[in-house]
Structure formats: structure tokens, C-alpha cells
């Protein structure tokens, strides 16, 4: 006969099995090396240097024709000492990277701007994504000089857009934990 003790153990095991792996694999994750927002004329613009990394499985998947998606998430938060921070700006840059077997090139699409680039090497494609230069964010007039602002940048590897069979595995396999953490820095006015 099952006792209540065995039942408790059974429930605990079930919950443990269902718990998602919340930790990121630091060696595989994308890293924001440098990022700054500067004022150019009337606009604040973003410049960032990002080190994209691909795990072995992600590389094989890419070379097998699986398209990979990243989104560069940019936020500008107005800080309040006692309340939640107010999101002044929230914008994303979406990238799609796919290998073209016929021409043996890596095709990188900036889905936000609609631009397409072809690269003969993977590193060339990643290099393009790595460098963000003079990306206009917000007009100067919308930034109050009295308030403090916080800039946040994150590279999110979009597992939800992987092929369905890969998706469920991607949520539990560290090889697919390719997103970066949030990088935060104060806005220099």
C-alpha cells in the first residue's frame, strides 16, 4: 500500500522534472561587450559591440538549413526612486540568419529594416550583427534633463521561432541558451 510519504516523494520528483532549467550557460551565451548611447545632433544613437556565439548544435542546425533568429532588445527606462521605472523607449532589431546551400553563403536579414546580406563565412555574418553603429533611438527633446535614465540592452536568441521539433528540446538544452543577460548603464546626457 502506498503511504503518504511515498506520495510526497512522487510529487516532488514530478515538480522537479517539470522545473525548467533557469540557468544560462555562460560560455555559450552572447555577450554585450560594449554599449553606449550618445547624443548626435538632435538624436540619441546607440553604438554597441556584441560578441555572438554559436554552440556546436546551433552551428550544425544552421548549416543544416535551420534559420536562426535573434532580436536585439533595447530599452530606455526613466528611473523613479519609489515607483517602478517608466519605459520611455522599447525597440527591437530582429535578425534572421540562414545558410544557402546552393550558393554556399550565409544570408543575414535585418527583419526590422528589411536589408539582406550574403556572406561566404559565418563569422562575417556574425560580425555584421556584432557592430551597431549610430542606431537612432530617440529625439533629444523627449529626454528630460532633470530625470535619470537607464539604458538596457539584451540579445535574445529566439527559441520560439525554431522548428517545432527543436523547440521543446531548445527549452531544456543548454546548447540553445544563446541569449545574453540584460546590460544596464545610465544614460549620459
Amino acid at each position: 500500500m502506498l503511504s503518504s510519504r511515498y506520495l510526497a516523494i512522487f510529487f516532488c520528483c514530478t515538480l522537479f522534472w517539470l522545473l525548467p532549467f533557469t540557468g544560462y550557460a555562460d560560455d555559450l551565451a552572447t555577450e554585450v561587450i560594449d554599449a553606449e548611447i550618445t547624443l548626435q545632433k538632435d538624436h540619441y544613437v546607440l553604438a554597441a559591440d556584441i560578441a555572438y556565439q554559436l554552440s556546436k548544435k546551433a552551428t550544425i542546425a544552421l548549416q543544416s538549413g535551420v534559420p536562426l533568429y535573434w532580436s536585439l532588445q533595447i530599452k530606455l527606462l526613466q528611473q523613479h526612486p519609489y515607483l517602478w521605472d517608466k519605459t520611455v523607449l522599447k525597440t527591437d532589431i530582429h535578425y534572421r540568419l540562414q545558410y544557402q546551400a546552393l550558393l554556399n553563403v550565409y544570408r543575414l536579414q535585418n527583419l526590422s529594416s528589411g536589408e539582406t546580406y550574403n556572406f561566404s563565412t559565418l563569422y562575417a555574418a556574425l560580425d555584421l550583427m556584432s557592430e551597431i553603429q549610430d542606431f537612432p533611438l530617440i529625439e533629444k527633446s523627449k529626454i528630460s534633463p532633470e530625470e535619470d535614465y537607464l539604458c538596457a540592452l539584451k540579445v535574445k536568441f529566439d527559441r520560439g521561432l525554431l522548428p517545432v521539433p527543436l523547440r521543446s528540446i531548445a527549452y531544456i538544452d543548454k546548447q540553445w541558451y544563446l541569449s545574453s543577460d540584460w546590460t544596464l548603464w545610465p544614460l549620459k546626457k
Binding site: 543544416s64 546552393l102 550558393l103 544570408r107 517545432v164 521543446s168
Partner: protein, 718 residues
């Protein structure tokens, strides 16, 4: 015919939940298809189904826990529920697991069968063929461009644009551009006149150009077309580069695209093969798990509903077993079990009615029995009943009063067991036992024995008891104490004798005495001295005898007349003291008295009671020697809820012979040489006239002892 409402064994909520589970599973199944619009929701659906499984698992877990607790407490229906659930789980699980196993086998084999070496090779070859075709085209276009550069070598700067236009039209290029070494556009020609800016080579192309002096590549163009970009060096003084963009024919592009699509798709599928298996396995496992959990949960609910009437029946039977018939079970459903519950209720109702009737009958019987027992208990006649083995079954109070034995204590034992306590009852009881066993009909016998209060005479009537089948089931003996009756008859007879004697004999005595004295008086002087002496002696004898006869007649008269003439309250101790004071002067005799403290009062005639004491003391004095001892004690006793004053008188004289004890109180019974023998008879008569009793204390072994009990006065405290 009325339509009966069909009641499902589970609620609407359960049905809705079950429907949601099915919908969720269906959505997840659809989402596994890449082309489905639901594929974007796949992860959410997977999570929802996972949570659904956890919820179902919790529900099943709670049900199992509850069932275990109920089983431990041995609640009604818990074991049946456990058995049914186990059976259901086994029945549901076994085929599901078998189907699951073979489905997995087929799935894995099916996925594996999609891929084989031949297709792999064929697709790679097809891709290579496409690439070779494009490569050949590229090289041809490069060569064509190189040839065009030769034609442009001689063109002056003014004519370059025009020559390029011609060359472009001749070569079939869509766009032709001449760049300086620094990348400046010298001239450009496009098939589309609207194109202001020509397609510029990027820095990688320039790098290759500077290294190799030429460049050719197929690059995607607008509108999902391919174009060949060929760049060749123009040998002029200032090196220049001619870029020509040649369109790939649509057919070639379509074919190449088709091949690439198939190749990429195949390769992707091959890469995803393992993931696909895992995904399908996960989906199938989730479907199986949720279906099984939902089925088990619904089974729990259904079985609980099915068991509910059984549980009620068990509780009902337990209630009936403990004697509660008053709460009918609710009829939940109009099915077989409902019919069973109805039948059970009817049975319970009938049992309750039968019980009530039995209880009423029992009350009546009990009342009857109590009534009869009361009558029996209050009967003056003793009644003892016997069972078939002649063991005592019942005995009433009167039996105790008559035998002075607690016959009730001998229930279940033989009648002869009473002898152990009272040996004097041996003969009469043996006689009764014999009659009980032998008599076939009503019998009657008079028996006598010496009881603690003297001789007792009983009139016994017995009857054997028969069952309806004619079997002997026991007997009943009824006995009356007729001692007093017989004594009364005797007393009446003696009284009549005494009265007649007094009347018939006393009347002639006076004339006889007078006549004898007259004879003496008349003839004494006339006779000779010798004759006169004879006469005197004779007349004296006559006178003396007449006197004696007179005394005797007086005694009889005394015996015959009522002794309780004038009653007053008498302090018995005082009376005894007064009388003893008359006798204490007699030398040699010692009196020892023992009076209980307090006033010992009786209601009676003081003269008669004095006579009683005189008679008894006289008898005692006559019986003892000159150095004798007479003990007198006075005590209160209680007998049959009545207070008595007991006077005991003992002497250490010659005592009474055993054969005389039974008749000592009858007239003309005496141990003395003189006297009429009426002394004790008169004593007994006086005492009985006063409602008391006198008997010889047979337990006294020295001398004689008399015990008198007189009813205490009502005012006498005890």
C-alpha cells in the same frame, strides 16, 4: 410512457474539463505540424498540457490518498472502490501501454525510413549539379566580360558610356558599370532606365578584385532572382574595373531553387530527426498520460457514484445490525442499485414494524408476568415451579415464609438441596419430590414438620405440567401453612369441650358437695365413732374431689373464655419485673434478666399476660432444682415487616422430651404428676389471642426454653 432523465455518472464540470483536455491535446497535435498556424503556440500548448497533467496527477493523487485513508479506517465501500479502481487501472493501462509501445515503434521506424543513403547522395548530387551549372555559367560570363573589357580599352572617356550601352545590349547583361580603381563610378548602363545607382560591390569583392584582378559570383537579386556578378580588369593606364550583372534564366533559377529547397529541407529533416522523435514521443506520452490520468480520475468519480448506494447499504446494514431501523436510505438513482436500496428500505421498515410489535408483545408479556409474579408473591400460599428435570424454576415469597429458607437462592437446583440447610425438612421434601416425579395428575398431601416456630403442618397440592405436545415440562407445587387452621380447629374443639364441661359438670358439683356436707352434718352425731370416722373421711374425700373438679372446671372455663378482655398498652419489661419480684423471695432460685434498652410496649390484657408469665415461671420452678436458674430476656425483633417484642424464658430444669415438644401446648399434655395440663394450652391461647406466637426453643439443649413473640405497640419505636 414517461421518459426518464438519463443521469450521467459524472458532472457537467467533469465533461467540460475532459473536453478541454481533448481540445488542448488536439491543438498540441496540430501544432506539431510545422505548417500549422498553431506552431507558434506549440510551447504554450506544451506547457498548458504539462500543467494539465500535473493538475490531473494531483487530482488522482488526492483520490488515491483519500482512498488509502478510507481503506485504513475500514470505511464502508473503500475496499470495493480500491478493487474496482485497481481493476480499471489495470484494464485501461495494459492496452494503452501496448498501443503506446507499438506506436512508438512505428513512429521511430517511420521517421527513420524517410532517410536513406541513396536519397542523401542523390540530393547532394543534384545540388552539386546545380552548383556546377551555375559555376559554368559564371565562368562563361566572366570570360564574356573579359572580352568586353578589351573592347572598352580603346574607348575614349566620352564614348565609354555609349560603348557600354552597346556592349551591354550585345552581351545580354542587365547592368554594366565601369569603376575606377578607387571604386568611383566612371560609367554605367542598366536595362532599367529608372536605376540611378548601380549595384555596388562590397568591400569583400574589392578585396578579391585587388588580389585576383577579377571576380565572379552568383548573388541573389531583387524579386527572388539570381544574377551573376562578373568583374574584370580593364587594362588602361589607370586600371579600371568593368562589372557586368547577368541574369540567370528563370528556368535555371527555378530548377536550382527547387533542388536547393529539397536539399535544405531534407538536410533540415535529417538534422531534426532525433528532435522529431523526441517531440512526437513527448506529444504521444503526454496524450497517453493525460488520457490515462483523466480516465483514472473519471473512473474514481464514476466508481464513487456507483459505490455510493453500496456504501449506504453497508451503513444501512451496520445500522440494522446495531438495532437502528428508523433512518431509510436515500434512493439516488432509479437503477438496479436503487431498486436494491428501495427493497432494503422496505425490509428495514418491516423489521422495524416487527420489532415494534415484538416489543409491544414483550411489554405485554412482561406486564403479564410481572402481574402474575406480584400475585404469586402476595399469595399466602407458597408456590414453587419446577422444570422438566425437577430443578426449581420459580419460588414466591410465601415459600420463604413457610419454609424459612430463601428458596429463590436455589433456583436451578433440586428441591432436595434445601435439606442441606434444614435437616428437619428431609422427610417432607423427599415426599414432595417423589410425588412430583411419579404423580400423573393433581395430587394433594398433608405434611408436617418441626419448624423454628414449632410444629408446622402444610397442605401440599401439586400438578405436573405438560407441553402442547404432551411432554412433561415440569410441575408446580402449592402449599398452605394450615398449622394455625388446625390449631384453631383444635382450640375450638377444646373450647367446646371446656364450655360443656363447665356447664354440664360444674352444675351438679355444688349439690354433690352440699349433699356430702349435709350428710356429714346430719349423720356425724348419729353414727358410731368408727362409722362417723369413715363418714367424715368419705365426705371429706367427696368434698375435696368436688373441689378439685371445680378447679378443673374453672380451668376449663378459663380456657374457654376469651382472654383478651380489656386491652391497654403494657410495658412488658415492667410487667416482668413486677412478677419476678413475687418469685425472688423463693430461696435458691436465681433469676437472670436481659432487657433491651428502651420501652418494650405491647397492647394487651395485663391480667391475661400476667397469667402467661405466672404459668411459665411456675412450670419452670417446678422443673428446676432448688439451685436452679431462670433466664428471661426481652428483645425487639422484626419479622415480615412487623415489629415484635420477643420474650425468651429458659430454665435449667429437666427439660421437655422430644416426643412431647409437638404436643406440649395441647390440653391435657403435661410432664407433671399433678395439674390439669391446661397451663401451657392456656398460655398459648392467650398469646395467640394477642396476635403473638409461642414455641419451644429446640436449639436449647439444657432445660426448657420458651419463646414468645408479641406484636409491638404501634407507638413502639424499633
Amino acid at each position: 410512457m414517461a421518459f426518464e432523465k438519463v443521469k450521467l455518472p459524472f458532472s457537467l464540470f467533469t465533461l467540460i474539463l475532459f473536453g478541454l483536455i481533448l481540445l488542448s491535446l488536439q491543438l498540441m497535435s496540430s501544432a506539431t505540424q510545422e505548417s500549422s498556424e498553431l506552431s507558434a503556440l506549440y510551447s504554450w500548448l506544451l506547457l498548458i498540457n504539462g500543467l494539465g497533467s500535473v493538475v490531473l496527477l494531483s487530482l488522482v493523487g488526492v483520490n488515491i490518498y483519500t482512498l488509502i485513508q478510507h481503506t485504513k479506517k475500514r470505511e464502508a465501500g473503500s475496499r470495493l472502490t480500491r478493487r474496482m479502481v485497481s481493476l480499471f487501472v489495470v484494464l485501461a493501462l495494459a492496452p494503452a501501454v501496448i498501443v503506446f509501445y507499438f506506436s512508438m515503434q512505428f513512429l521511430h521506424q517511420g521517421i527513420d525510413s524517410w532517410f536513406n543513403v541513396e536519397i542523401d547522395r542523390a540530393l547532394e548530387d543534384a545540388l552539386e549539379l546545380s552548383q556546377s551549372s551555375l559555376d559554368q555559367r559564371m565562368r562563361w560570363h566572366l570570360k564574356q566580360t573579359q572580352q568586353l573589357t578589351e573592347k572598352l580599352q580603346d574607348s575614349s572617356e566620352n564614348r565609354v558610356a555609349l560603348d557600354m550601352e552597346n556592349l551591354r545590349e550585345l552581351s545580354g547583361a542587365t547592368e554594366m558599370t565601369l569603376f575606377s580603381r578607387q571604386g568611383r563610378i566612371i560609367a554605367s548602363s542598366s536595362i532599367n532606365l529608372g536605376d540611378i545607382l548601380p549595384s555596388l560591390p562590397d568591400k569583400n569583392i574589392w578585396l578579391q578584385l585587388r588580389q585576383n584582378g577579377e571576380y565572379v559570383a552568383v548573388a541573389p537579386a531583387h524579386e527572388e532572382k539570381l544574377m551573376v556578378r562578373a568583374i574584370a580588369k580593364v587594362d588602361t593606364q589607370e586600371p579600371q574595373y568593368l562589372q557586368a550583372l547577368y541574369p540567370v534564366p528563370v528556368r535555371v533559377y527555378d530548377l536550382a531553387d527547387s533542388v536547393e529547397f529539397a536539399f535544405v529541407r531534407y538536410k533540415e529533416m535529417k538534422f531534426l530527426r532525433h528532435s522529431l522523435k523526441i517531440t512526437f514521443t513527448l506529444a504521444l506520452s503526454l496524450v497517453l498520460l493525460m488520457s490515462l490520468l483523466a480516465a483514472i480520475w473519471v473512473a474514481f468519480i464514476s466508481i464513487r457514484n456507483i459505490i455510493a448506494p453500496v456504501k449506504q447499504l453497508v451503513k444501512g446494514t451496520q445500522a440494522v445490525a446495531s438495532g437502528h431501523y428508523d433512518e431509510p436510505l436515500p434512493v439516488i438513482a432509479q437503477d438496479d442499485l436503487g431498486f436494491l436500496v428501495e427493497s432494503f428500505n422496505e425490509m428495514m421498515n418491516r423489521i422495524a414494524m416487527a420489532r415494534d410489535e415484538t416489543r409491544i408483545a414483550g411489554f405485554e408479556v412482561e406486564n403479564q408476568r410481572a402481574y402474575l409474579e406480584t400475585i404469586l408473591a402476595n399469595l399466602t400460599a407458597g408456590v414453587i415451579s419446577f422444570d422438566a428435570s425437577y430443578n426449581i424454576r420459580t419460588a414466591n415469597q410465601a415459600a420463604y415464609r413457610i419454609f424459612h429458607i430463601h428458596v429463590n437462592h436455589f433456583i436451578g437446583r433440586q428441591l432436595l438441596d434445601l435439606i442441606n440447610d434444614r435437616s428437619e425438612l428431609a422427610e417432607p421434601l423427599k415426599s414432595i419430590q417423589r410425588l412430583l416425579e411419579q404423580a400423573e395428575d393433581i395430587w394433594q398431601q398433608r405434611i408436617a414438620f418441626l419448624g423454628p416456630n414449632g410444629r408446622q403442618e402444610l397442605l401440599c397440592r401439586g400438578t405436573p405440567l405438560y407441553s402442547q405436545e404432551g411432554l412433561r415440562v415440569g410441575g408446580v407445587v402449592v402449599f398452605d401453612d394450615v398449622t394455625d387452621l388446625i390449631q384453631a380447629q383444635k382450640n375450638a374443639a377444646w373450647g367446646e369441650v371446656a364450655r360443656r364441661l363447665a356447664h354440664e359438670i360444674k352444675n351438679p358439683l355444688t349439690p354433690i358437695q352440699l349433699s356430702a356436707e349435709r350428710l356429714q352434718h346430719k349423720l356425724a352425731d348419729k353414727l358410731e365413732p368408727a362409722d362417723a370416722e369413715i363418714l367424715q373421711r368419705s365426705t371429706r374425700t367427696i368434698v375435696h374431689q368436688v373441689e378439685a373438679m371445680k378447679e378443673m372446671v374453672d380451668d376449663f372455663s378459663e380456657y374457654a373464655k376469651p382472654s383478651k378482655k380489656e386491652t391497654v398498652d403494657i410495658d412488658l419489661s415492667q410487667l416482668v419485673k413486677e412478677i419476678l419480684a413475687l418469685y425472688t423471695l423463693k430461696s435458691g432460685v436465681k433469676f437472670k434478666t436481659d432487657y433491651e434498652a428502651g420501652v418494650l410496649t405491647v397492647n394487651g390484657d395485663p391480667i391475661s399476660l400476667r397469667q402467661v408469665l405466672h404459668n411459665l415461671i411456675k412450670n419452670a420452678l417446678e422443673a428446676i432444682d432448688s439451685e436452679g436458674l431462670i433466664e428471661i430476656s426481652l428483645h425487639r425483633v422484626q419479622k415480615n415487616n412487623t415489629n415484635f417484642i420477643e420474650l425468651a424464658l429458659y430454665d435449667n430444669g429437666t427439660g421437655i422430651k422430644e416426643d412431647q415438644i409437638e404436643t406440649i401446648f395441647e390440653p391435657y399434655v403435661t410432664t407433671k404428676t399433678k395439674g390439669t395440663g391446661l397451663g401451657l394450652a392456656i398460655v398459648k391461647k392467650i398469646i395467640e389471642d394477642h396476635g403473638g406466637a409461642i414455641w419451644v426453643d429446640t436449639s436449647r439443649k439444657v432445660g426448657a426454653g420458651f419463646i414468645i413473640q408479641l406484636p409491638a405497640c404501634h407507638s413502639e419505636p424499633l
